[in-house]
């Protein structure tokens, strides 16, 4: 083992040796790495330069040859944040910097054209954030083993979906810590007890003190996502989010798994509304598939079990007592079939140089999104034979069906008797497939184009235009981007085609990311839209001067 000072010098030596190995000239490149938030120099950041050697052979006509292998050099910054590379040849250098708990700006790469020695390069790295806190019960006692999650939301196909960014467990002091958190807005939730699912053998499973649990609660005390207090993490900040849980009697859900494969691991989840609850502990008899989910507070849940590529769900209500005798059927994925029929197509008369008409199925694409507001796997259709389309590997569950057509608009979409334009939530049952999705689309549709007048201080304003149908029986609002001049003023241009005929309210948004255009509540909150009547085959021009910021 190397002594302390020699070991550290050893690392520095190796890095300098790397630099020296790349020696190919007499120029130097230096600079400083700073914290983008504080401006302070950053010690022991790793700076790397990559350059390609080229050579000009006097035997040739003076044109440079193709680049050879890249030359890489690295060094650490010193206590003043400074770095320096010597013995470099003129040419382009790709300079990057990294350090744990920081992210580099400009995706970490700076292209420097080295024509003379310079010592003025400034590289900025942005510190990541930390969220920490303590979970206590109503008596102020710290609670260990609580599953704490950081949720962020994103808009997917016009609806807000939550995703779990972090998932940690409180320690014996009730403390949790999340680090390397990117700047953004988060909601912290004490989701349940941690514990997982275990397999046991024999007649009875090990018993634990499973008599207390709690309903999920958010930082700020809210019981739902809408009422939660969001935390904004800026670069390098540490936010504290203590959560108080209310312990209440806990019960068990007992039952059995149908189609269980013995001795293979199983995972249990409890979903409550649009959010999941951690299943604190679940025991499964490894031979028979009998299970017991523990630590369940009063409430209505969906119990979901997943074993390998199979899963199953069942609604269960717990009210003051254990629930026994439930059966969750595990089933594999299925293929959801569909058919697209496009009407009003011109006759197919292929001739030399003109392609045959493309199949109907290629006009429209179907997608299945998680139906409960949580982030989860989405599925998209692929073409099948003839007018058939198929969505493969769909796990049992509830999904929101979305259709997108190109050059056509959807007139109707049914699965059996269910009108998917009115109620887009489709249930894929275990051990079965839903009725095929029948889509009837019509070629053409109407169009709206126009301009959005605005002024914005930002360098690259993002202008979006929302076209909200004011009638039933369509695939819903359409969000499109308007292309704005880079100087931040003037008029942005937009165009939307293949619209179902009807009246639309058109809105423009400036630099807004959270446009929940499929949320009825969001739509009702909008005002100032421009009303437009769209006719099949028509094209309306409008001007929007009122933007929503």
């Amino acid at each position: 083992m190397l002594p302390h000072s020699k070991a550290y010098s050893f690392v520095t030596f190796l890095l300098l040796a790397a630099a020296a190995r790349g020696a190919d000239g007499d120029l130097s490149l230096g600079g400083v790495v700073v914290n983008s938030r504080t401006g302070e120099p950053v010690n022991r950041a790793l700076v790397q330069i990559v350059r390609y050697q080229t050579a000009v052979s006097p035997a040739q006509d003076g044109r440079p040859r193709a680049p050879r292998s890249p030359l890489t050099s690295m060094t650490f910054t010193d206590a003043s944040g400074r770095f320096r590379f010597d013995a470099l040849a003129a040419g382009n250098c790709l300079v990057s910097v990294q350090k744990p708990q920081f992210v580099a700006e400009d995706r970490g790469q700076n292209l420097v054209e080295l024509t003379a020695s310079r010592d003025d390069l400034t590289l900025k790295i942005t510190p990541l954030g930390v969220i920490t806190g303590k979970v206590t019960d109503q008596n102020g006692e710290p609670k260990r083993g609580v599953n704490v999650v950081a949720l962020s939301t994103q808009i997917v196909d016009g609806l807000r979906q939550t995703q779990t960014d972090r998932n940690v467990t409180t320690d014996d002091r009730g403390i949790y810590r999340m680090w390397n958190v990117s700047p953004g807005k988060y909601v912290i939730k004490a989701a349940g007890w941690s514990g997982g699912t275990f397999l046991y053998a024999g007649d009875s499973q090990p018993q634990f003190f499973a008599d207390e649990s709690f309903k999920p609660v958010y930082f700020g005390g809210g019981k739902s996502l809408d009422s939660a207090a969001a935390i904004r993490i800026e670069p390098g900040t540490e936010a504290t989010a203590d959560v108080a849980i209310q312990l209440e009697p806990a019960f068990k859900i007992r039952g059995s798994l149908a189609n269980f494969v013995p001795r293979r691991t199983v995972k249990f989840e409890l979903l409550s509304g649009d959010e999941d609850v951690s299943a604190g502990r679940a025991g499964v008899n490894g031979d028979t598939g009998r299970f017991e989910v523990q630590f369940v507070a009063d409430g209505s849940y969906i119990v979901r079990a997943t074993q390998g590529q199979t899963s199953g769900e069942l609604p269960v209500t717990v009210s003051g007592a254990d629930v026994s005798g439930v059966t969750v059927s595990l089933a594999g994925s299925v293929e959801v079939k569909g058919r697209v029929t496009v009407t009003n197509l011109p006759p197919d008369t292929p001739s030399a140089g003109r392609p045959a008409r493309r199949p109907n199925r290629q006009f429209c694409m179907l997608s299945l999104y998680p139906g409960r507001g949580r982030a989860g796997r989405a599925y998209s259709s692929r073409p099948g034979a003839g007018e058939e389309i198929a969505i493969s590997d769909v796990m049992p569950g509830v999904y929101r069906v979305a259709a997108q057509c190109f050059g056509a608009y959807v007139q109707s979409m049914f699965s059996g008797n269910q009108d998917l334009l009115t109620n887009p939530l489709l249930t894929v049952p275990p051990e079965g497939t839903p009725p095929p999705i029948e889509v009837i689309a019509k070629l053409g549709g109407g169009a709206i184009h126009g301009t959005v007048s605005f002024s914005s201080p930002s360098k690259r304003p993002v202008v979006r235009v929302l076209l909200a149908p004011q009638f039933q029986g369509s695939t819903g609002p359409v969000l499109t981007q308007a292309f704005a001049p880079e100087d931040g003023s003037g008029a942005a241009q937009f165009n939307a085609a293949s619209l179902a005929p009807g009246i639309y309210a058109v809105y423009a948004f400036l630099d807004q990311a959270d446009i929940e255009y499929r949320n009825p509540q969001f739509l009702r909150s909008l005002s100032g839209g421009v009303g437009v009547q769209v006719d099949d085959g028509g094209d309306k021009e409008i001007q929007i001067t009122d933007v929503i910021r």
């Binding site: 083993g145 002091r173 634990f208």
Partner: protein, 526 residues
Amino acid sequence: MKRRSSGIAAAALVATACCHAADLYRVSGVVVDAETGAPHPRARLAVMPTGTPVVVARQIAGADGLFSFDLPQGKYDLRSGDSDDPQVYGRKTSALGLGSSLIVGPGQDNSKLVFRWIPRGAISGRIVDEAGEPVESALIQLVRSHIVSGRRVTVTAAWRRSEDRGEYRFGLVPGSTYYLAVTGTPWYAEEPLGFQVATPPFAYATVYYPNSSEPAGAAPLVLKPGAEVRADFTLRTVPGATVTVELESPQPITGNLGLVADGIGASDGFERQERFTGGRQRLEAVPPGHYQVRLAGTSGETSVGAKSTIDVNGSGVAVKLSPKPYPSVGGTVRLKNPGAKPKGSILASLVSEEGGGALSTAVRADGAFSFPSVLPGKYRLAIRGKDGYFASDVHVDGAPYVNGVLELTEGQAVTVRMVASDETGRVGGFAMSGEQPVMGAFAVLAPAVETGDWQAYHCFQTDSDGSYDFQNIPAGDYLLFAVEDLIEYANPKAVEPYLSSAKPLRVEPHGSYSERIPVVNLAGGR
């Protein structure tokens, strides 16, 4: 562990599922911190009939630690705590499975119980590099040396990763003897931007508490109950090497690829573990040392594994692995006495020889059982179940089976034939100090002929009336004695001093015996 007064009023009955008969007996006392003697406020208590998982009474002790139950006559376990830290009344150590049951009934005074709550401690610390900067994601291994099923074992108790400040913490740690080892990879040793680093990769040398580079130099860290100890480490950089792993013949395997070094005691020292997705894989920045490369994964539906031993001395090493399916174990269990049908399930078990953990599966009605895929290692075969059957005869084909130890390696298909016998007896009685029965003493039943099979040794911590009750003891010759403190009762060397004064006992099938035995106060181990 610190305690504070919560100001809570008298104990509240949370739930009661029994106790409406006329003949109820008072069980009351106080929960105290075993180290300080101070009341342990708001302790959660549960009462279960011994041998059953059913809770018949619950209570939360008051701020003064007092509790009180009224129970019908019977034998009960009194437990306190929660699912992660349950403690049993009468337990003197943190060894699992021990404690004293309460004998409730006429003539039994259980009104002044002292439930000694053994506090848990913590081991924490900070990992830095030679420059004093925190090391994130260092891997800290906590190894515990303690008595499990009568044997002293030194096995991994827990793992942690250091966080962004280099801090780690093992909380709720029972008082015991521990060892710590830390490994990690310098963050700058990973290939930045995907370009190959032109210099040898850097690695951190593994360090063992307090500051040794070899397992032999690891010193124990003795943690007293309830104490908090800091153990900081500095990781030093050494030249690393690349270990290239590929399969002898390509096959689709996904799983984990691990580098395991000799650890402390029987524990493995993990250098690292990465996902393996098939093909050729490089493990970068491996510090010098002697390792076993282990692959564990699945090929289709089959669990497969492979191992190879390598030495890394700063130069690259190439390894070729030939994955084979994990060993399977299957067979039959025949009842020695077919006329006596078991009331519950009979379980076939593979009991790990190293750590004592067991895999069990129910024997089917036709007597067959199977473990389709078992982690390679050394196991003892056993029959388990509520009816007390034991394996009186074992035959093994397909794997080495020496002195009752089955050695499983990849690629084996092992067949086992066992005979399940109900020829057991019962040995009970009292552990005495003079004329007084002693609660909480340890009665030991050792086979008269020394054996390396630790399952043949039995221990019972006497109940509140000083009684012990060994049930389902396989017929045979034994030596019976009692000690005040827990010893390595399955270690022939540890029990030897007690054998000369032990009571010889022959247990006949279905026999029942009652013996009063003195508690011997020789210096014992814990």
